[in-house]
């Protein structure tokens, strides 16, 4: 607990640096990642993040120590080379995208491992710090690192905000951009540069292996909460920053723990929680909406069946007869009748079912919508009368009162549908 207070009150200046650094980095990579997620190129981030390893090692070998400037430059150059090779291979060979990405990723990483072992055998005492780049150690962020990583993160965020229109065009409809005269090639290049930079700034805190998660997961998780790009970016940034801080906290409390894996675990928790529980798009709310819809349609069909009986002149409806008109659904039908009785639409008089006044008008409404829609399809869409039923069977549950009024108006309050059946109105005798 005292650790908790110590960490979150930022008494220690170095902790404040770390938290600022990881927040900026999280937001920056979440921004870039959201765009690349929308562009359906999420795995390119994975390739780049593995591919920066040889650059880090070369930078280290040239500088002879853990100089952030050399390392960032090296990482950037090898990330750029990998990105270039990926698009070059794509245009020159008939290899599939994922084969190209997997090859580039593993070749660069393998080469990086060769360099890493060469450095290891050379016995440089600074070597110990280099392993941190693989799994990340946010606690080791120093003030001088912060200026470089934080500065780059701010640069990414600003560029993305300024060029938001251009990048949105790039990910949603690049061809449109070309046709109205935007230099889409140059915009894609700037975007790739930003993506590489986002990976480069993450290597100290998260590590090369797991950096891909910071690019992919925030965008994917935020996508479940909103359809607007501006909100999407904000939510993705927030998820990423919060997981970054939580991950740093864990690796602060347990010194042996690398930061990267914990950030990824927290981020994935957010992502999976979004997939499951997000309103509207989450698995759970879609399940509930589906259940509700099925229940509603069954109620509508039941009311309709009784109404059709009434039209044919039948006056009493034994419950068994209703069960028979919905074969293999006895249990569900019984439940639906109980529900309808409870909501005062049907009256159950010792096994004989009949409408209440409210129920009758509801049944009329459904049948009316069904027949209006059939007539509309027939008159305006020129669809033959024997083809309109299936569509009306679906639309009768969905049409709103506004649409109903519009249909009535368009069709001039018709009396008959294409099958010569009366369209029921509230003040009819029936």
């Amino acid at each position: 607990m005292s650790d908790f207070v110590y960490f979150f009150t930022f008494q220690d200046a170095s902790i404040a640096y770390v938290v600022i650094g990881i927040t900026l980095l999280g937001i920056g990579s979440a921004y870039v990642g959201t765009y690349s997620f929308l562009d359906k190129k999420a795995l390119l981030g994975d390739a780049i993040s593995h591919a920066v390893l040889p650059g880090i090692c070369l930078g280290f070998m040239l500088a002879g120590e853990k100089n952030p400037l050399y390392i960032v430059t090296g990482a950037f150059l090898s990330g750029a080379l990998a990105t270039f090779l990926t698009s070059w291979l794509k245009s020159k060979t008939r290899l599939s995208d994922d084969a190209i990405i997997a090859s580039i990723l593993s070749i660069f990483f393998g080469f990086g491992i060769v360099l890493l072992t060469v450095i290891q055998k050379s016995g440089n005492p600074e070597m110990a710090g280099l392993n941190q780049f693989i799994f990340g150690n946010a606690i080791a962020i120093l003030e001088e690192d912060l200026y470089i990583y934080g500065g780059l993160a701010i640069l990414i965020i600003i560029t993305l905000s300024v060029l938001r229109k251009e990048f949105s065009m790039l990910v949603f409809n690049a061809d449109f951009g070309t046709s109205i005269g935007y230099p889409m090639g140059a915009i894609r290049m700037i975007f790739n540069v930003l993506m590489i930079l986002a990976v480069v700034i993450g290597i100290q805190a998260i590590g090369v292996v797991l950096m891909a998660a910071l690019l992919i997961a925030p965008g994917a998780a935020a996508r479940f909460w909103t359809d607007k790009l501006s909100k999407l970016l904000l939510i993705a940034g927030a998820f990423s920053a919060v997981s970054g801080i939580l991950g740093t906290y864990v690796s602060f409390v347990i010194p042996q723990m690398p930061t990267g894996p914990w950030v990824v675990v927290f981020l994935s928790l957010f992502a999976f929680a979004s997939f499951l529980f997000a309103p509207k798009k989450g698995v759970l709310s879609r399940f509930i909406a589906r259940k509700y819809y099925l229940k509603k349609t069954h109620q509508d069909h039941l009311l309709k069946a009784i109404f059709h009986g009434l039209e044919k002149g039948q006056s009493t409806f034994p419950i068994e007869e209703i069960y028979e008109s919905f074969p293999y659904k006895k249990k569900e039908t019984k439940q639906t009748i109980d529900d309808l009785v409870k909501s005062d639409l049907l009256i159950n008089n010792q096994g004989l079912i009949n409408f209440s006044a409210k129920g009758k008008s509801e049944a009329k409404r459904i049948v009316r919508l069904h027949r209006l829609w059939e007539l509309y399809l027939n008159e305006y869409m020129n669809i033959a009368p024997d083809h309109v039923h299936d569509s009306a069977e679906k639309l009768e549950h969905i049409l709103t009162p506004e649409l109903e009024a519009l249909l009535e108006n368009r069709l001039n309050y018709p009396k008959l549908d294409p099958h010569q059946e009366t369209i029921p109105r509230d003040n009819d005798e029936l």
């Binding site: 070059w88 084969a99 090859s103 593993s106 990483f109 797991l210």
Partner: protein, 264 residues
């Protein structure tokens, strides 16, 4: 990308297997990794079909999460398990000859890993020979396979299980990440040179053998990680082939009629 995803995702299974069996020798390791490989495939499918996450993001999220859990487990169990981060990353072939299989009578049968590798080779060859026709059909046209009544889902699952098993048995030698290179780079290189499936398989095997030997020799020369050097050699051959093919696109091996479309 499936090979990449699975090779990352089996890590927690390997660590738990190590922990349960207390050693690297146990059957538990292979079972754990196999289970995680299948679990990863299931999670990816669930995210894609039920939660409607786009495919690349489902793969990315699943394998990074499982890999992260694996690394965390290694750190938590660091004192109980003889396994460290470096081993996960790049394995160490050089130590393997020390790990001998000694029978109860005290007779040395040679390096233990060699038997594992031979077993793996036999299984993979048997798998391909037995299911050659079915595998070809499901990889080229899964829907046609389904229409004529092949259990395409089961065949894919079997293929993924073979990938998981191969990953696990190569894990000690080359590590979880570089095994991807050995799975993907030789066929990708061979794919540039031939359009016939049988030649593709032969060329891939030849390349695999050449990369291993050349990589080992190079690593011996510069004294570096053997697995890393194998991959680097593979990369040079791959990029060299791609460069050559981009200059002279019509040169092919293994087919006498290069203008014909891909035949089986």
């Amino acid at each position: 990308m499936t090979g990449d995803a699975i090779s990352h995702a089996v890590l927690p299974g390997i660590v738990i297997g190590f922990f349960v069996s207390g050693s690297q020798r146990g059957l538990e390791v292979i079972i754990g990794a196999g289970l995680l490989g299948i679990l990863a495939t299931l999670i990816i499918n669930w995210l894609k079909n039920k939660a409607k996450v786009q495919l690349d993001a489902s793969i990315g999220i699943t394998f990074t999460l499982l890999f992260a859990i694996g690394i965390i487990l290694i750190n938590m169990l660091a004192y109980k398990v003889d396994l460290d981060q470096e081993c996960v990353l790049y394995g160490e072939i050089a130590y393997l000859p020390i790990d001998l299989w000694i029978t109860n009578a005290g007779f040395s049968m040679g390096p233990r890993i060699m038997y594992l590798a031979v077993l793996n080779l036999v299984l993979v060859i048997g798998f391909i020979i037995l299911l050659y026709k079915e595998l070809t059909l499901t990889s080229f046209d899964e829907n046609f396979g389904l229409v004529i009544g092949l259990p395409a889902g089961a065949i894919n699952l079997a293929l993924m299980s073979m990938v998981s098993y191969t990953t696990v048995s190569s894990f000690e030698a080359v590590g979880a990440i570089l095994v991807v290179a050995l799975l993907v780079v030789p066929p990708a290189t061979a794919f540039l040179w031939t359009k016939k499936l049988t030649s593709l398989i032969k060329l891939t095997c030849a390349l695999g053998i050449f990369i291993s030997i050349a990589g080992y020799y190079m690593a011996y020369l510069v004294d570096s990680s053997i697995a890393g050097m194998m991959v680097a050699v593979g990369g040079v051959i791959f990029l060299g082939s791609a460069l050559y093919k981009s200059i002279k696109p019509n040169s092919l091996f293994g087919t006498s009629t290069p203008s014909k479309p891909l035949e089986i």
